[in-house]
């Protein structure tokens, strides 16, 4: 089945140690998103790629970066994780162009910072 896959499902990292979360998709969607969801809160958009074009949300901290080497893969890099970055990180994809359709989400990566 076509889907959005996030690895790992659970990630523990040390305070200040760079960490990378990965997302892959078999849907061939041209738009990929990263959301941060803290405990008992709504998902919050960090940034997205439309094809190769990177679009950062205005309030996303500089500590968060992203790479999209090809259509299928997208990475979230946290350069110096703080305790406040502990959250569920959700990757999503959608087909861009021609209006809004729906977004497909991965299972998420739960990040713990120790």
């Amino acid at each position: 089945d076509a889907m959005v896959i996030q690895n790992p499902r659970y990630q523990v990292t040390q305070f200040g140690k760079p960490v990378t979360l990965s997302c892959s998709q078999t849907l061939n969607h041209n738009v990929m998103y990263w959301y941060q969801q803290k405990s008992s809160q709504a998902p919050k958009l960090l940034f997205h790629y439309y094809d190769k074009d990177f679009n950062n949300e205005a309030d996303t901290p500089d500590n968060f970066q992203s790479r999209r080497p090809n259509t299928s893969f997208c990475f979230l890099d946290i350069r110096s994780p703080g305790l406040g970055d502990a959250a569920m990180y959700l990757c999503a994809t959608s087909r861009g162009g021609g209006g809004v359709t729906e977004a497909f989400f991965g299972q998420g990566t739960r990040l713990t910072v120790v």
Partner: protein
């Protein structure tokens, strides 16, 4: 700018009872509306969406929602809930000029009791 308000943070209900989860939105442009469900430590699954056409939208798992433009609401309903419906439900909006940059409400925790 758009915003979404989910009026109830928690909704307790007995099994086989009807339920309504309320959602109001604010936007100066045309919007598309979505309901997502999230089970513990899982990603988001689309329940239903309103893009255009009939204001009564039917989704998966017996859920339906009605788009009311004059009241800027998109309430989710189910006539008879099951224990397995216990989850977090998110209402989301995307403006029609974009693709799927979703703005989420704070979520409603539906707790179904036997």
């Amino acid at each position: 700018a758009q915003s979404v308000t989910q009026l109830d943070s928690q909704v307790p209900v007995f099994e086989e009872a009807p339920v309504e989860l309320r959602c109001n939105y604010s936007s100066s442009v045309s919007v598309y509306l979505f309901w997502y469900v999230q089970y513990p430590n899982q990603g988001l699954q689309l329940l239903l969406k309103y893009l255009s056409g009939s204001t009564l939208v039917k989704g998966i798992n017996g859920f339906e929602a009605e788009f009311n433009k004059s009241q800027t609401s998109f309430h989710l309903r189910k006539p008879s809930v099951h224990i397995s419906d216990t989850a977090e439900y998110f209402c989301a909006v995307a403006h029609s000029g974009g693709y799927n940059k979703l703005i989420f409400g704070a979520g409603t925790r539906l707790a179904v009791h036997p």
